[in-house]
């Protein structure tokens, strides 16, 4: 397989796989946060901050894949 073709196939697939992982992570985070909020609505502000920070960490992985794609995009040809 040619290098550009492999790159053209691999980069979007890589983002897709990364997105699967981040999606699972964010989903679990959101589930946990929602359940905790339902149980104890009074800790909502504290929980929201922690949740958003967690989202940031989970989402960063997809962003790494995205940035990698952006850097290698010019070499697809």
């Amino acid at each position: 397989m040619l290098f550009p073709a492999a790159l053209g196939l691999g980069l979007p697939l890589g983002i897709g796989f990364a997105a699967i992982g981040s999606g699972i992570g964010i989903g679990l985070l959101g589930k946990g946060a929602m359940e905790a909020m339902g149980r104890q609505p009074e800790i909502l502000p504290k929980l929201q901050v922690a949740m958003i920070i967690g989202f940031g960490f989970a989402e960063a992985l997809t962003i790494y894949a995205f940035v990698t794609m952006f850097f290698l995009q010019g070499r697809i040809g």
Binding site: P45, V49, G56, I63, V67, F70, G74
Partner: protein, 439 residues
Amino acid sequence: MDQARPGRDVLDRSLRTSWIVAGALALTLASTQPYDALALLAGEVISTLHFIFLRKIVKLFTEKRGGLALAIIGKVLVVYGGLFALMTWDKIRYAPLCAGFAIPFAVLFLKSMQLAFGAGPASLTRRAKGAMLILAVVGASALATTAHAQTSGPAQKEHSAAQAASAQAAPAASHEAATELPNWLVLLHDFNPGNAVIGWLEKNQIIVFAWIAGLLFLFVSWLAMRKPKMVPGPFQNAVEWMVESLEDVAGGLLGSHIERHFPIIGALFFYILTINLLGIIPGMKSATSSLDLTLALALITFLYVQFWGIRNLGIVGYLDHLAGSPRDAIGWMMLPVMLPVHILGELAKPVSLSCRLFGNIFGEDTLIVVFVSATALCLKAGLTALAVPPMAGITALFMMLQTLTSIVQALIFSLLATVYLYMMLPHEEHAPEEAHASH
């Protein structure tokens, strides 16, 4: 830091030290490359002027006296105009000018590092040792420069040729990258292709938009706090509400440390928010959709966090923190593994901070560009009914999403900075804060 404001003294001393360094360097260079020595001294002069003007401006600003505008205009004219004039004069090379400009910054950085290592302002009076150190450094660098000048004649030529080649390659590469919506600078450049100033602005549009956002941020805060009242009007109320809610959120993490660190956290949040939201206005651009700006912000955060880590934990405590606080035999045995892991973890922080912000904002921008260009394609093919209603709707939807992303990303950046800071600060249960405050 309890002695009444040592900052001014430190700045004076740093400037004096930097003059010694610059003079010594210029003397060593003067025999071989006189123009380089001149450029070095010119850079030093400009940098000194920069600091003097900056101090004047800050003084006028904090004491609320007149003549502020005059000082700012004078600084812009003298410092930036001087730099520009020097750079256009072709006998002066860029590198020594930059080196001269950077000397006071480097000296100031070293001095602040000295402060951070707990030496305190008192130790700055022990100058003999410091002068010896400076002389040693200058001597070593002088030897290095003369050796460099003797050996690297041909190498330099090759280097400049390579630079020219890469400069030619750079525009070609940037054409290959993803397109973006034209902003007003690009349009201005298209209509005035020959104008040097507009060309320069167009090439450095990230800086221009970052400056616009910064000025907007300053203007809004000035407008809100021009005449602060006990019972605030609607505008002041809105701004105060924003600042206070951010302080609540960050204060939930930092606790009693928030008062000291809120200025930088708040500045990061509102600056990034302004930059991000600026990108939604048609004809404007988010400066954060460039890795350069986000990396700069992340590096500032990184240096700030490390500075306060060293200052709060002390140099031994900082190394202990980096080693993962080994307390038992197993901890000490894991030391060769844990130390590199922790150092890598520290270094990964700015990378992840900058890539996250850049990726999110750039991704949103690209998404909107894709839909706008799809609309343009449909219009070109004569499919007006297909183009306008659905595509405009989708684009508007993504713009709403972009607003959300802008706010959330600004929040995440500043909150992560807070969390990194929190990891470096002494926690409440150890309570070394009382001991620190008592002396």
